[in-house]
């Protein structure tokens, strides 16, 4: 396989974007990425989106976006893996370029959640429809089940869960594309409306519209395009049981573990080599389990690790400098690529106020459902 790099990035603001349709969002992000890359054509495209069908009644969006980008007849395909659709779109594009089949591939993600659909119902399709959703459980509910089990098994406190939201908002304040770029306090998080005990609304990622795109190309082309070369040195993905009740251990996201192990192995890296990470904080407890299962800290210690500030911008391993899903927003299919946008900015040194000093190696982790799928990519700045 050839070495490949991220050569262009672009994203829309995330939020309630009433004036922009699904198509508008994707085209905006794609154009920004193409401009950023400075390429004059693309060979193929992958569009990650969880369920444009349920949100706006539109499927077939690979072809749709190729059409609206004016890129037809390039090959285009929609990639779906619930909330990890974006990360999986990158993975699909990665293999097409790394194999030598294509040179310049656009990987993007988009979701239009605010056009009047029953969002709770649409998101619940990522769970076991017949044996979880049928019983009335929701996504906040599933993660609340994980939270309570984690608190019972390891003594994790609600305050520690809240620390995740507080930190991510602190980071998001510095992100011009963030949906909620404002500070929140631990008290506000704890006292906010309860969605599914114990999780409050300030521990749940919001409902968002948005799109993000990246252009990937082989190293030779990347070098010619003039910007720092951000190589993708590892990709890993894995699955776990779709239903939370069928997991071997409710507090361990085995798909995260396995996908990370595969990516680390391919990259020849270990958790301690990572300078910053963008992870899937769909709910506060998710980030806690993820940093444990990625190997940044021991199982059960994720709450304490966060509370102590180790995942802040100047901490041991900055996590979600973009603001994460919580503050930046979570247009489901776009998230995986928005994570790529953030780490690319960081490794290029263009993250402004959010810049992590001397960032050289970064990790993105994107997850579907209650952890039934996970995809990890590792990026390294070529010097």
């Amino acid at each position: 396989m050839r070495d490949i790099a991220v050569v262009g990035i672009g994203m829309t603001k995330f939020g309630e974007l009433w004036q922009q349709s699904l198509r508008d969002l994707f085209v905006e992000a794609a154009m920004k990425a193409i401009d950023d890359a400075g390429v004059d054509h693309i060979d193929s495209m992958y569009v990650g989106s969880m369920t444009p069908g349920l949100f706006v009644g539109q499927e077939h969006i690979g072809a749709l976006m190729a059409d609206y980008l004016g890129a037809a007849p390039v090959p285009a395909m929609r990639v779906e893996s619930a909330c990890s659709s974006g990360g999986m779109a990158l993975r699909a594009g990665f293999f097409e370029v790394a194999s030598g089949y294509s040179d310049i591939v656009l990987v993007g993600g988009v979701e239009k959640m605010n056009d009047g659909a029953d969002v709770t119902y649409a998101l619940a399709t990522a769970a076991d429809q017949e044996y979880e959703v049928y019983q009335g459980v929701t996504f906040p509910g599933l993660y609340a089940l994980i939270a309570r089990a984690h608190m019972h098994a390891y003594g994790t406190t609600h305050e520690q869960l809240a620390a995740v939201s507080v930190k991510n908002h602190k980071h998001g304040m510095m992100n011009p594309n963030a949906q909620f770029p404002r500070e929140i306090t631990r008290d506000q998080v704890l006292k906010a409306t309860v969605i599914a005990d114990p999780l409050t609304i300030l521990e749940c990622s919001p409902v968002s519209d948005g799109a993000a795109c990246a252009i990937i190309a082989p190293i030779e082309i990347a070098k010619k395009l003039g910007k720092p070369v951000i190589k993708i040195i590892g990709t890993g993905a894995a699955t776990d049981t779709i239903a939370l009740h069928a997991r071997a251990d409710i507090t361990t996201l085995n798909a995260v573990k396995q996908s990370a192990m595969a990516a680390f192995k391919m990259a020849g890296k270990q958790p301690k080599d990572i300078d910053l990470a963008e992870v899937h904080d769909c709910f506060s407890i998710a980030e806690i389990c993820i940093i444990e299962d990625l190997g940044f800290t021991e199982k059960g210690k994720g709450g304490e690790f966060t509370e102590k500030g180790h995942t802040g911008i100047s901490g041991q391993i900055p996590v979600n400098t973009s603001g994460g899903l919580k503050s930046k927003g979570h247009p489901v299919g776009a998230t995986g690529i928005a994570q790529v946008v953030e780490v690319t900015e960081q490794l290029r040194g263009t993250a402004g106020k959010r810049q992590v000093k001397d960032a050289k190696v970064a990790l993105t982790q994107n997850m579907g459902g209650s952890g039934a799928s996970s995809v990890v990519h590792i990026f390294q700045k070529e010097v």
Binding site: A124, Y131, G136, L145
Partner: protein, 129 residues
């Protein structure tokens, strides 16, 4: 829920019918075609016991449209006496009763109706013992 899908899941939702792998003994609810333990394809029909205990739980306060009038309602992962886990509501109890380890039994209840004119969807729910 469209009628064919509803009809197909009745043995599980109405009678808690499960399947046990003839080769390695792993039990599945609902039944499957391939054992995820050993890859075998032959199963024996079994039934989940009528009792179990709570492994973890929460109270749903924001629900999808077809459960909206029922909030707040409790949901838990219950481990039946034979070790199989299911996701289920826990009803007819005060929230304070919910705790990890609480013993429960399964009862036959309505899950939801499809509006005023659609079918009524039934299944199992847990009630504390």
């Amino acid at each position: 829920m469209p009628s064919p899908r509803y009809r197909r899941e009745m043995p599980q939702r109405y009678r808690l019918e499960a399947a046990k792998c003839n080769q390695c003994g792993k039990e599945f609810f609902p039944p499957r075609l391939i054992c995820s333990g050993c890859g075998a394809k032959e199963f024996e029909t079994t039934k989940l016991g009528n009792t179990g205990k709570i492994v973890t739980f929460t109270t749903i306060r924001v629900a999808p449209d077809n459960f909206a009038t029922q909030v707040p309602y409790n949901v838990a992962i219950v481990e039946t006496d034979n070790g199989v886990r299911v996701t289920t509501q826990v009803v007819d109890c005060k929230p304070e009763v919910l705790k990890i380890g609480q013993k429960v039994k399964f009862m036959f209840r309505k899950l939801y109706t499809e509006g005023h004119t659609g079918i009524i969807c039934y299944g199992y729910k847990a009630v504390p013992l």
